[in-house]
Amino acid sequence: MIQEEQILKEKVGQRNCFKVPEGYFDQLTASVMESLPQQEQKARTTVLRKFFYAAACAAIAVLMGVTYYFHQDNGRVETAAAAPESNYYDEMSDYAMIDNMDIYVCMAEE
């Protein structure tokens, strides 16, 4: 024990000067237990949480299905998009005011 601590203990002591109302500790346990939330609240929260997880999974599955469906449609759209390209030479020939056949002959000679 350090000297200053010894002096302090001799001067003041270590007595517990704090008091409690009569019967306080006899009712403390009951008071604490009464204030605790019921276990069922926690169970209900768990069930609700599981429901939301299931709903979220279902929503994601539907979204993926819809995305896949529209992607397949887009394939057809993309094929259709290739068609205008063949019109390009027609437009070019119109602009140049020469027949397609002349263009092909010109390209064959190169």
Binding site: L8, V12, G13, F18, V20, P37
Partner: protein, 174 residues
Amino acid sequence: MLRLKDPKTRREAFERLVKEYSEPLYWVVRRIVLNHEDANDVVQNVFMKAWIGLDNFQEESRLSTWLYRIGLNESLDFIRKQKNQMISADNPDAGALAQQLMADDYFDGNETEALLQEAVAQLPDVQRAVFTLRYYQEMKYSDMSKILNTSEGALKASYHIAVRKISEFFKQRD
């Protein structure tokens, strides 16, 4: 511990825990917060937090260590909030703690014992906790180390500094 983890037996097991630790925990809290009503509120909060946090208790420490840790944290949080309120209210009587205690129905100490409480209340928060655990409860540094998650060396140093400050406080009064 198994009975605490099992939802069927949890409440009954927790009640036994409260019965065993509520009184010693109360005294740890009371020596820090000083007032009986405040100590009661803090103890209720401690057990509420313990109940809610039971699933998070990893069993790396004993249950008692875990409870005391929550108790000390709640007590220190309480006095910090109290200090902030006193500072913001610009309370001129903030330094007259000994007088307040002497007037408290649930304090039966003499003036010297009340002055010791005033001296302890002026210590930094963690030093205050270390001093009260060591001086009044003679808690071993090894147990304190587990509760406060601080090395024994640091706790011993903290306690010696606290004792020195309190001794100076009394010398200035004499």
